[in-house]
Each structure stands twice: as structure tokens, then as C-alpha cells.
Amino acid sequence: MTKKNYAFYPGCSSQKGASASNFPTSIGVVCEKLGIQLNEIPDWNCCGASIGYGEGGLLPRLAISARNLALAEQNLPGQDLVSGCPACWLSTRESAEKLHESPTLMAETNEALKEVDLNFKGTVKARHIVEVLVEDIGFAGMKAPVVKPLQGLKIAGYVGCQTNRPFGIAGESFENPQYLDKMIETVGAEPASGYDQKVTCCGGALAFSEPEKSQKQIRDIVESAYDNGAEMIVTPCQLCQANVEIYQSEINKKQGTKLAMPVVYYSQLLTVAYGGSAKDAGLNGQLIRAEKLERLAGK
């Protein structure tokens, strides 16, 4: 099988020992099975994330995104830039579009890029890995390698914000996107159809600065999963995963709840369904163990 090649932008949280380090483990297995070759962009940098605007002005933010785009353009010509992190994808795509629309901003950004001996011509498209899976592979393609359907598992598909807005996956609605539920069906599990917090915000970066307000959001997201009979939450977003998993113990401590809902990535479901072990799926990286998924992986 000829592999499909992409310029891969992992992002800070997906590095070894970082908060989403179990994501690259599982997406690696998924890509291997689906003939996707992710070529890491050499010396990539942080995207600025959704909180970078406070201190970083528009031009510094455009420059840091343009550095990644230019590195991809120069070192991996003809390949789409692909990120698994919604914040990386969003910042990079927004920047690419802004530069495309404004010759002035493009000229100024390239003036800054001269400091690192780079020049961005504007030929690179920024995409999310979910777009690659849905558009380039398709659901039938994703289903083909399934050897261990995750039967009997009911899962709440939590899409969150930035994978879904403002760009989202083509053809999906902002209010009720279907692709994550379809992925859950693809691996042989059952989506919790009444899950009404599918596109609710977890608080994002404000989980740090406004913990009470964010934890109210997180409690709603988790409790709706319980109410709809889900055994775990699945998400495409690194910050959603971290916030929704990590703060359950804090909410329990402060509010006397007994939340213990596992939160996994879609790539972990796919890995187990493709016959991967719990370790292949990075399930040892959960704070709240996804025991049922681990048991299925061990069978």
C-alpha cells in the first residue's frame, strides 16, 4: 500500500512526558494500520494556543504559526500540515487564512521570518488528523482493520469546541456534529445517543485561571455522560481530555460528588479495535483507568 504522506505538527502537549503523551502512542498505531505516514516537521514550535493573544500581538502570533508552515513548506513540500491538537490546528489554519487574505500581513510576517532564514509562500494547507481520517480514509476505510469490535461498550462522544468551531469537519453541523458518534459505531461500540453536552466548552485554558467556572462546565459534561448510560467519554481534543479527566477528583473533593468517568481519545478506541494492547493504546496514561476498554484490549 502506498502511504499517504503528511507534514506532522505534534504540538507541545503531545511530546514525551507531556499532558497528552498517550495520544501520539495511539494515533501512531492508527496511522500505521491505515497507511498514513506522519512526517514530523523539523524543529516545529508552539502555536500560541488559545491563550497566546493576551501577551502576543497579532503579528508575533502570525510569525510563530508561519514558522511552522514555512518549515513544512520547505522540508516536506506538497504535504498538508496535519495536527492532532485542535488548538494547534486552529491557530495554524487561522494564521494561514489571515496571511492568504492580506498581502500586507504576509509581507510583515515574512519580514519577521527572515530572522530564522525562512520565507512562507502560502502553499501549505493546515488540517486536523480527524479530517484526514474522515475525508482521506473514510469510515469504511477506518472500519477495515477492525479485528476486535468493542461490543457492549456505551460511549459518550464529547466533541468539545475547537475541533468543531469555527472550522469543524466539512459537512458537519456546529450544534450536533455526527462524526465522533460514527467513529464510535465504526469500532463496534454504541454511542450514548442522548448525550447533550457534546459541544459544551470545558473551560479551555480558563480551567487554570477560573477553576470554579470551568469545573461547573466539566461537571455538566461528565454528569450528562452518566445520565445517558455511558461508561466512558471519548474526545478528539487534548485539552478537553485533560480538563475533563483531571478535574473530576477536584470536583469530588469540593462538591462531594463521586465522579470517576474515564475520558479517552478516539485513537485509543481505534487502537484497541485494531487489536492493539492496552499499552499500544496508551491506556496506562489515564488518571481514571478505562478498565472496560483495558479488559477488551487484554482479550
Binding site: 499532558s19 498517550n22 524543529d43 493576551g54 501577551e55 521570518l113 468551531r165 473551560g203 479551555g204
Partner: protein
């Protein structure tokens, strides 16, 4: 009023809408708001906003410069983009909120000690140093932003989470020694400095 602030106001003769249009990211969209309030009703932290985006847009048009730029409200934006996709006039509301927050911060009119303002600054400084975010140093900087004693209290309160993350190999204590970074971090810093210099030149602020 500091010098930058004085320079910012001067050319606009108290026309705050014009100042926003010319100096705030995506500010030229503000006049398009038709005051329907969908943004206010769509915000996940809506109740925490003293001035919702809808109100801020009207306040800008009414010339309420101090009230807008000293407002705590735009710092409540979680960047969920709900307002953007729902706005019937397609205003890039999230970006305008970011732009207003940044402008107020740059003029040093934003509320002092506003927690999101503080962590945004820590986050940017963290990534600007090496080109990549050092999550351990960022977490520690956040805990200790209100002083040493409060920092120890914060760190102790979160130690269960921290240990859990370390056990799951999602927080590496060795990051304190440097950790992940760009090879060309010197170039990265120069590039940011250059971008900032060009931007300040545009805003009429001598660097």
C-alpha cells in the same frame, strides 16, 4: 495616562469606535453588530461577563473607552467560538474579544491581577523562551504567581493531580532542567522580537 495610552488616543479625538477599528484586531467589524444578543446567550461563561460582547460593542460605539478597556469581561472568553458560529452577521466575535483584551493589556489598562490576563502572560513568556511550552514550569509559575506562601498552598492542593499525572507519565519532573525546546530557540526569540517591533512601528509606538 501613560505615554503609549496618550499616543493611542490622540489621533482619534475621542472617537473610540475609530480607534478600535484601526488598532484592535478585527475591530473594523464592531459597527456591524445589530445588538441581537445571540453572542451573550451563547457564551459558556456568559453569566460571568459584566459586559457581554453585545454590550461591549454598543459601549464602543457610545465612546465608553475607559469602561471597555478596564473591563474584566473579555478575559472571560474561553475561546469556544460559539459566538462566532452563531452570529447572524458573522462577526468574528471571539477574535474581537481577544483583540480588545490584548489592546487593553498592551495599554496597561486591563485589570491588574486579572487571573486570565496573568496566566496568558505566563504562558506566552514560557513558550517565547524556548519555542515550546514547558508544562511543568508553566504549572509552577501559575501556582506561585501570587507569592511563595500561596504557591506552596496551591501546589499542595493540587499535589494529588500532579502525582497522578507523573505516574501516568504525563508530567515529567525532569522538565525543570530544561525539557523540550526548539533547536533554534535563539532564532525563534529574534523572530518574535522582530514581529513585535514591526507591530509597534505600525501602532506608532517607538520601540
Amino acid at each position: 495616562m501613560n505615554d503609549f495610552n496618550k499616543q493611542a488616543v490622540a489621533p482619534y479625538h475621542n472617537n473610540f469606535l475609530r480607534e478600535v477599528e484601526e488598532r484592535v484586531e478585527d475591530g473594523e467589524w464592531v459597527k456591524m453588530c445589530m445588538q441581537c444578543g445571540v453572542c451573550a446567550g451563547s457564551c459558556p461563561l456568559g453569566n460571568a461577563w459584566q459586559h457581554t460582547p453585545q454590550k461591549l460593542f454598543m459601549m464602543i460605539r457610545a465612546g465608553k473607552r475607559d469602561e471597555v478597556l478596564t473591563s474584566d469581561s473579555m478575559w472571560m472568553c474561553t475561546s469556544c467560538y460559539n459566538c462566532i458560529v452563531r452570529c447572524p452577521r458573522k462577526l468574528p466575535i471571539t477574535h474581537i474579544m481577544h483583540g480588545l483584551a490584548h489592546y487593553a493589556h498592551r495599554l496597561n489598562l486591563a485589570p491588574k491581577g486579572q487571573p486570565t490576563r496573568e496566566i496568558a502572560k505566563l504562558f506566552w513568556n514560557n513558550l517565547a523562551k524556548t519555542g515550546r511550552v514547558n508544562e511543568l514550569k508553566f504549572s509552577l509559575a501559575m501556582y506561585f504567581k501570587d507569592g511563595f506562601v500561596q504557591g506552596i498552598k496551591n501546589a499542595l492542593a493540587m499535589q494529588g493531580v500532579g502525582l497522578g499525572l507523573m505516574k501516568a507519565k504525563r508530567l515529567n519532573p525532569l522538565e525543570i532542567l530544561g525539557g523540550h525546546q526548539c533547536k533554534d530557540k535563539a532564532g525563534f526569540r529574534k523572530m518574535i522580537a522582530k514581529a513585535r517591533e514591526i507591530e509597534e512601528r505600525k501602532l506608532g509606538k517607538a520601540s
